[in-house]
């Protein structure tokens, strides 16, 4: 029987949660025994090659592209797990949620104290994904099965969760492993 597949993505995140995946160090060999990586920045596979057992999503939805990727993950993954505070509550990108999008763009491209933009152009190329009016936590966009909080969730949290899921054992994370920072 072929190994189950796992996919990962970073939406509006900083890749810190992916760093934390790598931070499981040599235990990644144990994970590799249990699963095969599908679409993920870890192996640079860009498109889903088939049904995945687990999808790990870092970051919230700040652009329409984030929403598309998240919907793709929901479509292709049996179990969708949010990785980190940005996916869970928007995180640092969601600090713009208290300011209208227009004002955010004007501050970034026109009015900021260090801005050099003689053409006074706010980037609007069709190639660029459109910003959403605010940053949405992932569970407000699609159904989510599990949440691992943390900034980032520690390597131990990720490893224990993955192993428990893949071996069908119950998971009881100790106090130290559920943290918001």
């Amino acid at each position: 029987m072929s190994k189950p597949k796992i996919a990962t993505a970073s939406l509006a995140g900083c890749f810190g949660c992916h760093m934390s995946i790598l931070d499981i160090d040599e235990r990644i060999l144990q994970v590799a025994e249990l699963v095969q990586f599908d679409k993920s920045p870890v192996d640079d596979i860009k498109k889903f090659t088939g049904r995945c057992l687990v999808g790990l999503v870092e970051g919230g939805c700040a652009t329409e592209e984030n929403v598309h990727v998240l919907e793709e993950f929901r479509k292709h993954c049996d179990i969708l797990i949010l990785l980190g505070d940005c996916a869970t509550m928007g995180g640092i990108p969601a600090m713009r949620n208290m300011v209208p999008l227009k004002e955010c763009l004007e501050e970034a491209y026109l009015n900021g104290p260090t801005v050099y933009n003689p053409g006074r152009v706010i980037p609007n190329d069709p190639e660029l994904p459109l910003n959403l009016d605010r940053v949405y936590p992932c569970h407000e966009v699609v159904k989510i099965d599990y949440v691992l909080p943390g900034c980032p969730p520690s390597a131990d949290t990720i490893f224990q969760t993955l192993v428990a899921l893949l071996t069908g054992k119950p998971l009881d994370l100790p106090y130290e492993l559920i943290k918001y920072d």
Binding site: T88, M89, G90, P137, E140, C151, Y175, Y180, D181
Partner: protein, 235 residues
């Protein structure tokens, strides 16, 4: 007449003194009742409702309700824990609690309650309200994004500092922490050594130039859940 009263908390007999609140009697017996607005050095406020227990089947705030002989009290039950979790989750979504960049993280009582309850994420949608920050004072600041309206600073300012720097303004969803000045905290007689600054359970009323003084791993709630100091006293 003896002033000793006996109550039952989750099936255990607890002796208290007349005049004590349920919270105080439980604490003396080494039983932790989760709380947020209550503080041992301040008068009771009864506003956060995290310490709600069932007394003879009826919900009561343990921080305001005095003990009476024969009370049957439920504290650590699934129903109450779920209700307390819901309160903490509501506090998280109705403010802007960015733990990842907050100086109070690791020493924050709201966060510590969420950790103790094992909350991975709130069940309610985030509101992302627009709240302001008062950075006018040379030594302290108010970040209303993080304020949970527990009223500790209001009481500490009155009762301990003998000033009236803080007061609530507005009602319901519009309630906010007001100050005794037309505009800025700098215009009040608030000072860095005030009790009101010390007792803030979250990162709303903070000392400047402290920042992230304690490394991750050595902060108050990094290894032990809030309330474990009380539970350690249990005979």
């Amino acid at each position: 007449m003896s002033d000793t009263v006996t109550v039952t908390i989750d099936g255990a007999q607890v002796k208290g003194r007349a005049g004590q609140t349920i919270l105080q009697a439980a604490e003396a017996a080494g039983i932790y009742i989760p709380r947020l607005c209550a503080h041992n050095e301040l008068s009771a406020h009864g506003s956060c409702r995290v310490c709600t227990v069932l007394v003879n089947g009826r919900p009561q705030a343990a921080c305001t309700q005095p003990v009476a002989d024969g009370m049957i009290i439920e504290n650590n039950t699934e129903k109450l824990t779920n209700m307390r979790k819901a309160i903490v989750e509501m506090l998280f979504v109705e403010g802007n609690h960015f733990c990842m960049s907050c100086e109070k993280s690791g020493n924050c009582e709201l966060q510590a309650l969420a950790y103790r309850f094992g909350i991975a994420a709130p069940r309610y949608p985030y509101l992302f309200p627009k709240r302001d920050i008062d950075f006018s004072h040379p030594d302290i600041y108010i970040d209303r994004n993080r304020c949970v309206l527990c009223g500790r600073c209001v009481r500490a300012s009155r009762e301990t500092d003998k000033k009236v720097v803080f007061e609530f303004t507005g009602r319901g969803a519009h309630r906010r922490l007001g100050i005794d000045a037309a505009a800025d905290l700098a215009d009040t007689d608030a000072a860095v050594a005030d009790k009101s600054v010390e007792v803030c359970p979250v990162g709303a009323l903070m000392r400047k130039r402290v920042g992230y003084a304690v490394p991750v791993g050595q902060r108050k709630y990094d290894h032990k859940p809030i309330g474990s100091d009380i539970e350690a006293k249990r005979a």
